[in-house]
């Protein structure tokens, strides 16, 4: 168990710079989720912490100690890979105990620790099986077990749930969270799924093209995005962006409004009119997709019981000024 510090961490592959300097202080036992679209450098950042990629600039400290030059095994970390990376010819128990075996832990202690982890993860009946004789969810658990038995100070997860079906993903998400709480181990978790990020994270890092656009607690990030990218990426359906010039802003500025902050009224009665192009009733709520005169698509989220416009009909959109977020032409939030 330890703190983790990234200080202006940078990474270049040859001439291409993929991480442009990330800073974060992770407290002991904190669950940090790195979230962002594909190719933004999440895995690269995680792999640098693991020691699987060299660090081009800046410093990584685990428990206050600089680890830039250390091999993965000396960093006191454990990693769970996206495709589990279980050793195919070893049994579940051997897979989990392999790291300890290399560390020359006494056999009895390995067995005890594997047993303990297996109990925790409900893997006891499968200890003798080979990975190929397990289901996806069970393999996922073995990968977790392999990380747990080593009692590392930091857990690293790279999209560990992306190979599971939707239902299992939700279940494993809960299990990972509970496990991390129970063990109190600092965790760094990469995902491109914002729901996973929102539900798991104590704090999340929203990455955009190699830059940490915002770091904060999920609800804070949601309520108060620092950039247009964050506003658009976190939240589903995404934030609507309207040209601010139409509402008294400067040219090039954008106005962001969350779908739930928009209300529909009669045409002409709101701040701007749009034509309803499609309506998605989801039961408790309904999504109304509209198109403005200039072609901008806007989504409104309203209660399932609220009155709906007819498809193709004009409707007026209104919102409270306090809910709108202004962004400059570079996407930075204006306050």
């Amino acid at each position: 168990m330890a703190t983790l510090t990234l200080e202006n961490v940078q990474k270049s592959f040859g001439d291409t710079k993929v991480i442009h300097g990330v800073d974060i202080d992770v407290a002991d036992g904190e669950f940090i989720v790195i979230v962002g679209p594909s190719g933004c450098g999440k895995s690269t950042l995680l792999r640098m912490v693991a020691g699987l990629e060299g660090v081009s600039g800046g410093e990584i400290r685990i428990g206050g100690k600089r680890v830039n030059e250390q091999e993965p095994m000396d960093r006191d970390i454990a990693m769970v890979f996206q495709n589990y990376a279980l050793y195919p010819h070893m049994s579940v128990a051997e897979n989990m105990g392999y790291g300890l075996k290399i560390a020359k832990t006494p056999k009895a202690e390995i067995a005890a620790r594997v047993q303990e982890a297996a109990t925790l993860l409900q893997l006891t009946p499968y200890l003798k099986r080979k990975p190929r004789e397990l289901s996806g969810g069970q393999r996922q658990r073995v990968a977790m077990g392999r990380a747990i038995v080593r009692r590392p100070s930091v857990f690293l997860f790279d999209e560990p749930l992306s190979n599971l079906d939707a239902k299992l993903r939700v279940q494993m998400r809960l299990e990972i969270k509970q496990l991390q709480r129970k063990l109190g181990v600092t965790a760094l978790y990469v995902t491109h799924d914002q729901v996973e990020a929102m539900t798991l994270a104590d704090r999340m890092i929203v990455m955009n093209a190699g830059v940490a656009d915002q770091i904060g607690a999920p609800l804070d990030v949601y309520a108060d995005p620092a950039t247009a990218f964050v506003a658009g990426f976190i939240g589903s359906p995404p934030t609507n962006f309207l040209p601010a010039a139409r509402f008294g802003g400067a040219e090039g500025e954008m106005l962001g409004i969350r779908p739930e902050h928009l209300t529909l009224g009669a045409a002409g009665a709101g701040r701007i009119d749009g034509r309803a192009v499609s309506i998605e009733p989801l039961g408790a709520e309904t999504l109304v997709h509209l198109r403005l005169e200039d072609g901008t698509a806007v989504t409104v989220r309203q209660e399932g019981t609220a009155e709906l416009p007819a498809e193709g009909a004009e409707a007026g959109l209104s919102w409270a000024t306090g809910e709108e977020m202004r962004f400059d032409d570079a996407g930075r939030r204006l306050r």
């Binding site: 693991a50 020691g51 699987l52 091999e71 993965p72 095994m73 970390i77 454990a78 990693m79 890979f81 996206q82 495709n83 990376a85 279980l86 050793y87 195919p88 010819h89 392999y98 790291g99 290399i102 560390a103 080979k130 190929r132 392999r146 080593r150």
Partner: protein, 285 residues
Amino acid sequence: MADRHTGMVEKRGAGLWLTHAGLILGVLFIFFPIWLAFVASTVTQPEIVHPPMPLLPGDQFLENYRKALVSGINAPVARMLANSAVMAIGIAVGKIVISILSAFAIVYFRFPGRKLFFWLIFVTLMLPVEVRIVPTYEVAARFDMLNSYHGLILPLIASATATFLFRQFFMTVPDELAEAARVDGARPMRFFIDILLPMSRTNMAALFVILFIYGWNQYLWPLLITTDPEMNTIVMGIKQMFPSGDDIADWPVIMATSILAMIPPVIVVISMQKLFIRGLVDSEK
């Protein structure tokens, strides 16, 4: 699953009989010369040279085989079989060890000249043993390797084909496996021994069969490098059994030797075949 597969190609009635008749005929056709050799190894010399050739085994089986194994013509066949076994196993094991290590180096390490070395190995694929046999002989002779096991084995031990094969296999092993091992604390050789080797088991078995037979069937190289009959291998030894002058060939003993020469490769193929099939059925990756 086996049921479904036979079901898929199932033929009925006449078709079934025809295919079987065809197969049996083919087997008989290919097996006939071997049968003749076996028959010839169980009769006496006069019975062979007087036509018509017998088609059924005679009563000299024990006599001929004992004679071949114990005294042979130039050297006892038992001795030649042992030489061949040492050579074939030496070549097969040596080739596998060297090529799996080179493939490991080429796939998992970045070192200067890595591409160059790979292509150098690859280029040697294009040179058959016969092309470089004179310089190889020269080198072997200078190192005093004539009439020795290492002389039989070492010059044939480098294998571009096997290196290439293992390289292709290693490239299909997911990178994450190597990374997981690194995080687990395995240094490169540990990863090689604990993870890559067990995963290559079936590939090694397949190669062993092929290379054993390759080694067993070597003819030209043992012919050059061994002058002492005690160091003869069996395949070249059979040829040496033909008389050079006016002597008459001792056909029953030569035939018994031929039959004996076939047995070890057959045993290797059959015993390794089981491992093959097991490897194919529970593929590990």
